[in-house]
Symmetry: C2
Subunit: 143 residues, 2 copies
DNA sequence: TAAGATTATGAAAATGAAATTCAAAAGCAA
DNA sequence: TTGCTTTTGAATTTCATTTTCATAATCTTA
């Protein structure tokens, strides 16, 4: 799975005429080693731990490339930090966001997805993407 | 409807021990006169047009109060600007956002709302709020 | 493989939205 | 009014992100 993603990025880079750099390889490795929903700052700190020379700007730029390449998805919750999550081929999910402990629970609901398509159809709207975020308290934080 | 909202805000202010100020009255009047989904800057400019003395900070602070009072809702789309929309008592809706012309189409779907509750229940999650935004192209921008 | 052309990088500066500071002004209870 | 408290607005600060630009790395071609 990690190899697939590396390959996917090489192909994307080749297609776009991007050069292959040590930094991009490192950032990709570290991104792939993280769990879901990393903020740019978190990832930057991880990168810096083993590769102090790599700068903020490169991490920002590279994560945007990953998103463009389809292996990461940018998510904006309500904390002013952009996060990136891993995109598995063909998979989509939405989020339950706990405002108590910041946990993020993922879910999928085919019916909701279908209803969205119907709504779009009804308005002559062409869907490019969507986000559904449910904010509240997770089971732990309720009790 | 405008009077109701003004009254609602007075009550909220009274309850919170807030003072009644000329600025808040003006900003409320102008907010109520706008259409849906105003950015803070847009509102600030409108306010400044007739009342040049009123500052940015007051507009920011006051809109937060409106949200707290329940007569406005903060919405964060993907353009880095906080917007506020009018909240009608007991009403809820979600958004189709056109990335072509920035139009925002509102919709309600009871089934989606119900399904969200079921998902939350399944995860022991207590819903406080949610947002569903569908991004894409509106009918005009498609053709 | 060396040169030349182009792209990528990183430190620092710039940006832009939002929050904060603080002295002055306004509101309020008595 | 008086005196106390809240609010205001200009300016400053903050913070995430973007941009700039000189330097470095990569790729292409000979
Ligand atoms: Mn996720
Ligand atoms: Mn709306
Ligand atoms: Zn929690
Ligand atoms: Zn449009």
């Amino acid at each position: 799975m990690i190899l697939e993603k590396k390959k996917a990025f090489s192909e994307f880079a080749a297609n776009k005429g991007l050069r292959s750099t040590r930094q991009r390889d490192i950032i990709l490795d570290i991104f792939l080693s993280t769990h879901q929903h990393v903020s740019v700052e978190e990832l930057y700190l991880k990168v810096k731990a083993s590769h102090p020379g790599i700068g903020h700007a490169t991490v920002y730029r590279t994560l945007k490339l990953f998103a463009e390449a389809g292996l990461a998805r940018e998510i904006l919750l309500h904390d002013g930090q952009t996060r990136y999550e891993h995109v598995l081929a063909g998979e989509h999910h939405d989020h339950l966001v706990c405002t108590g402990c910041n946990a993020i629970i993922e879910f999928e609901d085919e019916t909701i997805e279908k209803l969205q398509k119907e709504i779009a159809l009804r308005h002559g709207f062409l869907i490019r993407s969507h986000k559904l975020e449910i904010y509240g308290l997770c089971a732990c934080c309720r009790s």
